[in-house]
Structure formats: C-alpha cells, structure tokens
Amino acid sequence: MTDTARAVRRSADEYLRVDRIPHIWCPGCGIGPALGCFIRAIDRAGLDTDKVAVVSGIGCTGRAAGYIRLDSFHTTHGRAIPFATGLKLAKPELKVVVFSGDGDLAAIGGNHLIHAGRRNIDMTVICVNNFNYGMTGGQMGPTTPLGARTSTSPYGNFDPPFNLPQLVAASGAAYVARWTILHVRQLEKAIVDGLTKDGFSFIEVIGPCQSSYGRMNKLGQPVDHLDSYRKRCVVKHEADLRETAIGLGGPIVVGKFVDTRRPTFGDRIDSMLHRAHDQKI
C-alpha cells in the first residue's frame, strides 16, 4: 500500500459514521462506490469539513446522508435541493452538497433541479443514476431507458427518459459531468472540481441497481453489469449534449461536459445589495 492510499484509508473512517455500519445497500450496488469517491474527493479538496453540509432526499441513494460524518440532512422525497438552497443562502460560508438518486432529483424533484441550475446556486449535486427507483423495488422513472423492464414497465418502458446532462446544462449549471462507478479516478476528480467550483455543479454517476434494474434486465452478475459499462462507455469531454442520451444498449457518453463561469446566485445578491444601497444614498 502506498502512503497516499494509507492516508486516504485512514481518513475514510473520519468521514463515515462507523457506528452505523453495516449499511443498508445490497451487494453489488453502485451507491457505495459513489459514496467512496465522494469521501475521497472531500479529503482531496482540502475543505474545512466543519463547514460542509450534505443533504439527501429519499431513496437508496438518499440514505447516503445518514452514513456521512458531516452535518447531514435526510429530508423528503425530491426536496433536498430547496432545503440545501435555504442552508446555503442563510449561511454562505457553508459548502453544500446534495447527494441523491435519479428519481429523487429528476422526477419528483425535477423542478427544483432546473431552477437551482437557472439560479446557479453555489452547490454540488451528485446524482446516482441507476435507471430506476431502487428503494421502492425497481419501478421505471424519468431516467429509465426506452424498452427497459422494470416492475412497472413489464412490457418494456415506453416513457422516454431525460438526458440529464443536457437538461441540467440547458438550465444553466456551471459544471456538468458524467462518469460511472468504474471511473473511480475521473469521478473523484469531477467531484473535487464540483466542490471547488463557484456555482451549480452537477455530477451524474451511473451505477448499478443490481437487485432490481440489473436483475430485471438480465444484466448478469454485478461484475457483468460493470463490464457492460466498460464496453459501452465512450469518453467525450465537451460532448455535443444531444449525444449524451442513454439507451438500453449502445454507447454511454461520459466526461466533463460543461465547465464555465457565470455569476452565482450569491454574486447576484451581492450586486443587488450594492444597487439597493446606492439607491438609498
């Protein structure tokens, strides 16, 4: 083991509520690896961890807040982003991270997602996309590929999905990336980027829901499921976002898609305050 690896391993316990382990996630689930990348990214970003707050909604992914030894909030289904917005605006020195699932963020919470992007609120959203609602037993949702089988699309899904990077980029996010849990280093780096970026950063993490989506779509053992990512992924930084839609088969475009600078909501509040002050005198 190298020194760095040892240092990171030591610090992992620092960031976890070890008294809550074992966790609830199934063997072969992608959420744990995503959380691992997040923890290492926090460590690498060198943040004052007393000032980091993690907010989750509801779902298997939403349980992440409960395992992180930082100020952490497990809120209601879909509402992590507006809760996090209140935290951030009332205490701007906080670094606010939303860690939640695709159903939570893009279905019931979809409206909040696009509005937070529009405002360019300074927060980092990590969205674990497992193409279904894991917690409730694997129903289809707004990220389920056409044709995929889920417990509520027994004849194959006919309800077209969102292309999340395109949606979030169009709404105004300053940073948008997508990786799978196989891309450990790139994902970790993307989360560091997000944490240190001013403005709204969105990182989509493709990971398996082995127990539902994987089983129902006959993706094999967890290792086969991961192997399919290896075969399907195409790294394309700054890709044309019309190409980042995900089908049942075919390529999964991954990479850093958006990395721009535009005024954050906090910046705009500050300039409004200056204007208000000037008008008074």
């Binding site: 707050a53 807040a65 952490s72 209601t76 509402r79 507006p82 917005t85 935290l87 605006l89 009332a90």
Partner: protein, 383 residues
C-alpha cells in the same frame, strides 16, 4: 428607522405588511415564498425590507420549495418565514411535517381565502383551520395563532417566532384575506432583545452532543450546520443520536415527545381574549376577522338585555379545551360563527360535552358574517 433598519412608530398599513414588520422585529432574516393572493404583500414587503436589515429574500419555484428552503435556512441558524394562501398551504403540508419531525423553528403564514381549490382568490375564507391541525400526515401537534387586526399581525408574528424557537416547532399564523388586506393604525413598537426567544443551544462539546437528547425539558438543544457538531437529522423515526430507528418503541418515544412538548405546555402557549363573559348565558366563540363582527353582535345583544359574551380565540391550536369545558358548566349555549361549514365548532361541541348547547353559524366564504345574523343566532340559542 432605527440604525439596524428596524422600523418603529405609528403607521397606517395593512395586515400583510404589519406581518412582515413583525417578522423583522422578531429577528426573521430569511424569507422564501411564492406569490399568491391575498398573501403576496407579505412577500413583497419582505423582498424590500430584508436587504435593509442584512437578511435574505428568495422567491422559490413553488411553495414546496419555499417550505423546504425555510427549513434549511433555520438549520443554518436564521429565523425564517414563508407566507401563502390555501393552494400553497396545501403544497406545504408534507414538508411542514418534516419541520415537525426535525424540530425546526420557523413560521408559516396562511392568509386564508375561500376554497376549495382556487375558490375565491381575492375573498375571505376560514376553511384551512382543520388543515392547520391535521394537514400533514401522521401524529403530531402544532401551534396556530389567529390574528384579528393588522396590529395583531405585527404582535402575533413576534409571538409566533418566540413560540417556534422555544418549542422547536413550525408555528402557523392563520390569518385571513380581510385581516391581511385591511389597513389600520399599527404601532410598530420597539421590541427589546430580552423579549425575543432564541432556540435552546447545546452546551456540550460536539463529541458529547446528541441531537435529540433532552434534559427532561422535552425540547432538545439545537446545533446548527457549520459549527462542527457533525450531526445527522432525518425525517425517518430516529433515536437521540438522530439515527434512524425502525421500530415501534422508538416511534413511541419520539412521537410522544413531539406531541407532549406542545400538549404539556398548553398553559404557556394558549392565548384567548374574553368580553362580557362573567354572567354570559350565551358565549360566541370566534376567531380572526369573524371575532370582530361577533364582538359587535354581542354588544348589540347586550343592549337588548341579552346576557351574551365573547370568547375570542388567539391560539386555535392547541385548542383551549379546559377553558371551554369550564365555560360550558356556567353558560347555556355556544354560538360559533366561522367562514366555513363547521370546523372549530366541532372542538367547541366536543369540549362542551353536552353541558351547553352548541350552534354553528357558517358562512361559505367570499364575505364576512352580518352582525345581525350573529345577533339572531344569539337570540335563537337562548330560545
């Protein structure tokens, strides 16, 4: 205007504006809302005033977001408020429950209009009173205050913040369109710091802190985000550590405390006002704008020689059960005028417990009762 931007003095202003000023005087520094008649003026005033006092206003994408944003802001240490009317109040219900479960101080103003649904957007109603009590799912208790004048919109907003901080619970201000929109003289009095209540705060270091451990007071000390406590809170049933505890024993322990912290402190929380009550044979029980019409009707009854009295509810929740029980023993009848088809009347009837007759005088909304109608109901009650 004083140095910190707090406005003092006598003004002619409407109830919504007075509510905003009350919030600012109470220390509210965060407001998230979504426009809706007849509550919009609260948001408008806050958008102008909060920047003057170092606070933050944000117009959210809907009322669900507004409710969550004030919860987040409260956990960052701000006194936070939102305002709405029926349709938005309905949207807030799930996360009002989150506020109750996380024990988050905050204030929610409902300037009631006539429903159901879009109903009469610009006209008065009092149809959300039971929703205030039971609107979110599960077992809980809530505090709801009902102002009857612009002056009370100022004063009770301060009371609402104080109660929410003291008991760590969302407090509802159940106003109505007439009180929100009417303009009257309002005294924006100086509110000394010692009048303002602040949430209980931990006195132990982070290693010793358990988010939901109480010292027998029923209200646990509240750490804030960014202070190094590294706490976890969840809307799931949880133990003293704030960790999910998925069993009936933990549910019993938690929910009992959430309810008891309000129930057992009733006498501190409940507020009402009475007039001509000592020898009253018939008591009119009313709240909000209706209590002002009722006062007039009771006065008319007195000048006819009828021994009528007025019980004006200031807190509808918790309901002053014990007091109504006592009144029922010495009066013959209650008359309950309200701008709905019967809500608080059920509480009065329950507490009267057959000892005094109870009559509802409903109004479906879009206007207030005619004093003559209440007078006639008083006469009728004694026949």
């Amino acid at each position: 205007m004083s140095q910190e931007g707090i406005i003092q003095g006598e003004f002619f202003m409407n109830g919504d504006e007075a509510c905003a000023e009350g919030a600012i005087s109470a220390g509210c520094r965060f407001f998230a809302g979504y426009p809706i008649t007849p509550a919009t003026e609260v948001a408008e005033r806050m958008s102008r005033r909060l920047p003057e006092v170092g606070g933050t206003y944000i117009q959210m994408e809907d009322e669900i977001a507004s409710m969550n944003a004030i919860l987040g802001a409260s956990w960052a240490g701000a006194k936070a408020m939102t305002s709405t009317s029926g349709p938005g109040f309905s949207l807030m219900m799930e996360n009002l429950g989150l506020g109750v479960m996380l024990e988050t101080p905050c204030v929610v103003v409902d300037v009631q209009r006539a429903g159901p649904s879009t109903g009469l957007p610009t006209s008065v109603g009092q149809g959300d009173i039971m929703q205030a009590r039971w609107g979110s799912h599960g077992t809980y208790e809530i505090i709801a205050l009902v102002p009857s004048s612009p002056q009370e919109m100022f004063d009770l907003t301060i009371t609402a913040f104080n109660l929410s901080e003291k008991y760590r619970v969302p407090v509802l201000i159940m106003s109505d369109e007439v009180v929100g929109h009417m303009s009257e003289k309002v005294v924006l009095r100086a509110v000394p710091p010692e009048e303002l209540v602040e949430r209980p705060r931990p006195s132990v270091p982070p290693e010793k802190y358990l988010p939901y451990q109480t010292d027998g007071s029923l209200v646990p000390p509240m750490a804030l985000a960014g202070e190094g406590y590294r706490f976890h809170v969840t809307g799931l049933t949880h133990d003293e550590r704030g960790y999910p505890a998925m069993n009936a024993a933990a549910q019993d322990r938690l929910v009992r405390r959430l309810v008891d912290k309000i129930r057992l402190n009733r006498s501190d929380i409940i507020r009402y006002e009475e007039a001509w009550i000592d020898d009253a044979e018939v008591v009119v029980c009313a709240y909000g704008i209706t209590s002002r019409v009722a006062r007039h009707a009771v006065h008319m009854a007195r000048s006819e020689g009828i021994r009528a009295g007025l019980l004006r509810l200031i807190t509808v929740w918790p309901f002053p059960e014990e007091h109504v029980r006592q009144l029922a023993r010495r009066t013959q009848a209650f008359v309950v005028p309200e701008i709905n088809y019967g809500q608080i009347v059920f509480e009065v009837e329950r507490c009267a417990c057959g000892q005094a007759r109870t009559a509802l005088l409903p109004h479906m909304g879009g206007g207030v009762h005619h004093p003559e109608a209440i007078l006639e109901a008083i006469r009728e009650a004694l026949r």
